[in-house]
Symmetry: D2
Subunit: 297 residues, 4 copies
Amino acid sequence: MELNGVEIEDTFAEAFPIKIGRVLITAIDTYWAEIAATEATGFGTSVIMCPAEAGIEKFVCGSETPDGREGVYIQICHMTEKGLENQLLARIGQCVLTAPTTAVFDGLPDSENKFDIGNKLRYFGDGFESKVEKYGKEMFAIPMMEGDFLVEANIGYTDGVAGGNFFIFAKTQPSGLMAAKAAVDAIQKVEGSITPFPGGVVASGSKVGANKYKFLKATTNERYAPSIKEKIENTAVPSNVNAIYEIVINGLSLEALAEATRVGIQAATTVDGVVKISAGNYGGKLGKYQINLVDLF
Amino acid sequence: MELNGVEIEDTFAEAFPIKIGRVLITAIDTYWAEIAATEATGFGTSVIMCPAEAGIEKFVCGSETPDGREGVYIQICHMTEKGLENQLLARIGQCVLTAPTTAVFDGLPDSENKFDIGNKLRYFGDGFESKVEKYGKEMFAIPMMEGDFLVEANIGYTDGVAGGNFFIFAKTQPSGLMAAKAAVDAIQKVEGSITPFPGGVVASGSKVGANKYKFLKATTNERYAPSIKEKIENTAVPSNVNAIYEIVINGLSLEALAEATRVGIQAATTVDGVVKISAGNYGGKLGKYQINLVDLF
Amino acid sequence: MELNGVEIEDTFAEAFPIKIGRVLITAIDTYWAEIAATEATGFGTSVIMCPAEAGIEKFVCGSETPDGREGVYIQICHMTEKGLENQLLARIGQCVLTAPTTAVFDGLPDSENKFDIGNKLRYFGDGFESKVEKYGKEMFAIPMMEGDFLVEANIGYTDGVAGGNFFIFAKTQPSGLMAAKAAVDAIQKVEGSITPFPGGVVASGSKVGANKYKFLKATTNERYAPSIKEKIENTAVPSNVNAIYEIVINGLSLEALAEATRVGIQAATTVDGVVKISAGNYGGKLGKYQINLVDLF
Amino acid sequence: MELNGVEIEDTFAEAFPIKIGRVLITAIDTYWAEIAATEATGFGTSVIMCPAEAGIEKFVCGSETPDGREGVYIQICHMTEKGLENQLLARIGQCVLTAPTTAVFDGLPDSENKFDIGNKLRYFGDGFESKVEKYGKEMFAIPMMEGDFLVEANIGYTDGVAGGNFFIFAKTQPSGLMAAKAAVDAIQKVEGSITPFPGGVVASGSKVGANKYKFLKATTNERYAPSIKEKIENTAVPSNVNAIYEIVINGLSLEALAEATRVGIQAATTVDGVVKISAGNYGGKLGKYQINLVDLF
């Protein structure tokens, strides 16, 4: 099929299960909320060599936060429960508790799965902390240099989905990049999903495993590498394509991933020089979920 | 002494040795250079529970970079050589190689200490990578979806200094925070130093160890906690102070730290509601370096 | 009454009628949409000496724009119809048509009042322009260096309200400023209103006319000037207040102004060091509309 | 000649004399300095229908400003002395005096040409203002709601140059746009010049006068319009070019313009999909200055 004159390949994105903790950070204004969220979700593109996958889900205004201040939802993702708990503890403790004016709330209040992150962070108070009932929630108040840091006792997590994706084929690198940026801008407004890579964009889409260097879990997807398309027999790069970008999406549900994929592709096709949209799948080697591109429209 | 009507306490900041790798990232424009640098230096406030301390040192223009594009210097800091190598490999591999349009250069070309990061990242090319001589440097070109990623074969590191710091005492929390922000803006322009905490500011200045929870390496510095000043016998919080922020500085040399401390304090004292500048020292428990505040002016 | 421990004075803001044109700008991504909107609404704080009052109302995503791209609504305000038409023509022609990748749509499609801005801008095409039916709208396509610029034939305007306002009294200047910033962050998310001053904040709240320099339409409101409070007999500055900021709000309706005032005050009261909220009224000298602060809560 | 594989056409940019006022704005931090500068230089792309041409020249740190705070230099440009004085008065009075925490200094202290802007703005003080000697300068202190506004008595201006320019020819619109952005990023670091159009980029490069609509001073440059290249006999658009962007540069001297042109072109040629650089000249109809592109390298 075609969308805005761009071919949407009849293929599917392969995604896999992951554990996701969701945290609501509030702060004195949007600038400082974003600062804390950015630090807490950094070094978090792929579980291949990062300690977690992480990203900013959405910004919310004071009418949607317990303390009436500007807020931001972040997601921290890990393959295991234990790993997720460690990452929530470390990232909230080192990057949000330390950040100016923040407070931390459970971003999944309806989830039955909880880690007692607040209850563990309270030890930083060295005996001066106190349990408080605030905004109808069980919280800890930890006296610090800037004043009291407030953190909810428990933070929820859930079974989510990682690795949702699509590929943008473009005539020039800037066409692909601006289409990727437009896609990320659009996905940013979708509830429940994050794009964990830098600025939401992957320049280095990979294949599972390796042909030559077998000690690696992931290596360049040479079939999609424009600079060597003449050397690769079964190259997937059309002759008029000189750059491909991948958007990787994690989310709280398959539905959130599908919606993010849909609005992302729609946005990408509005950019001049984009010639085709495809997606990455690995014969089931990567995961059990499938998002069929053509079915989204 | 006084500066702009603000008391500078006659005390010193205690700092300690650390290993620092310095990387120059270039990209298509400043936006994407900053995106890559921010992701690569995230989750990097303190070695207490982060895998590294990391930050953006400075932005440079095309006349100062090998490939004539906009660039940004980042520093990655770790207590051990092995840990630093792992962090450079993981952060460059997962957060810069994956970011759109980036190239990576050795940020310490004159240092004799090198890790062969580029030589290790090249395996991502799965045999399609090639060694190239470019800009007078030994580099690897790795074919990827967006095109070729260029990375210098070796990345330099050095013996640096961590934990440089000063405290801003303020009448109100926003006064302290804006003074901290002004200080960070000023330090951003100093060669050789970074402020690894969120937005460069620490809301939760700590003491070494604990009184009560002995299993923790660092806990709240209760003597500097305004909300409990009435309960702490030897509180360091004056009666008119309601918030204290700490600026923590790492750098390539003690001189870089001292200069960053000087310009940061100078900037902080221009903000209304700041009443005093002090610094953190721990009787030598933290480190061997001392920066005397009064001597800076 | 009190809100979050802050006194809300029992007074009202005085506002006045104004003509408002509303424009939807779309662009390749949010960055370039904001660039165009910022240029088009600059030099637009107050009709006292600016050619118009202007501001960014809100950002919208591709699902809410005719061409499926990211968008931003701006408002241009003027006391007269003729003046408004001139300003819409000049600001769209010089600041949006000239900006990369933009398209321009009527931001008030339901209004019966229209200026044929697109029909006038088309002359820039020097005969190469064409009328097109696109997105169900009557538009002009003007061939330019970057490609075709699309602009809707007619742009709507309406009778709006200007000069909605409230005052933030604070112990320190940064407390007042961060409260003002938090208020603007909150108002930014309210439909139908803008805050035309720099960053949404007024540092120099004025009175109508002058005591001494009668040739001026507006001069400093000395009763609210903290630095001279000891010299002014009927000063309105409490002894513990050292800075006051005003938020000025324009909007499509009195209801939009009231809602913006409400969320702005709510946000401001969450900031440490804020002691009182008041508003500016001038005995009816300024305008016929009144927004009573206490009634908002 | 070729630069980075891109053809630099052997032609020249035509520029013309203009009057330039230069203002140094300082503020509590870079955020608020930029806010004031952006408002004051908005609606300032071209004297064709804007009240002035205006832009941000450069940011400076506290060691380079009289009051030790972060600062930003802006330029306001007008064809006449009287028009320039009016614009300086209105833009500083409405967009900088009104902005939080700003102070205003003469940005051309060595120029003998001065307007007594500070001396005129002082009337806003309605008799409560005072002349003060501060930072070795003659200034006025005007009591306002946020505290005292400080403005230097006189602001310098000089004979500058406007209309410096170059064209970027690209295969796709995003290639041209990202090259334009990279050029603006580079020029931003050059002393003495501004790029007054939105984000520094012109999407609608024009010719002087019109063929058909003679009442217009400037109309689309149809020879450079890609969408109609097949219809224009003497089109300047090569068959592989689908978008052209113009960078317009004003500056304090012809040397500043030449240097900005040089670094801008250099940066633009590093972007994929750029095929040619040219410049706009109008047979002397526009102005007396010429900058020859090939001579710059």
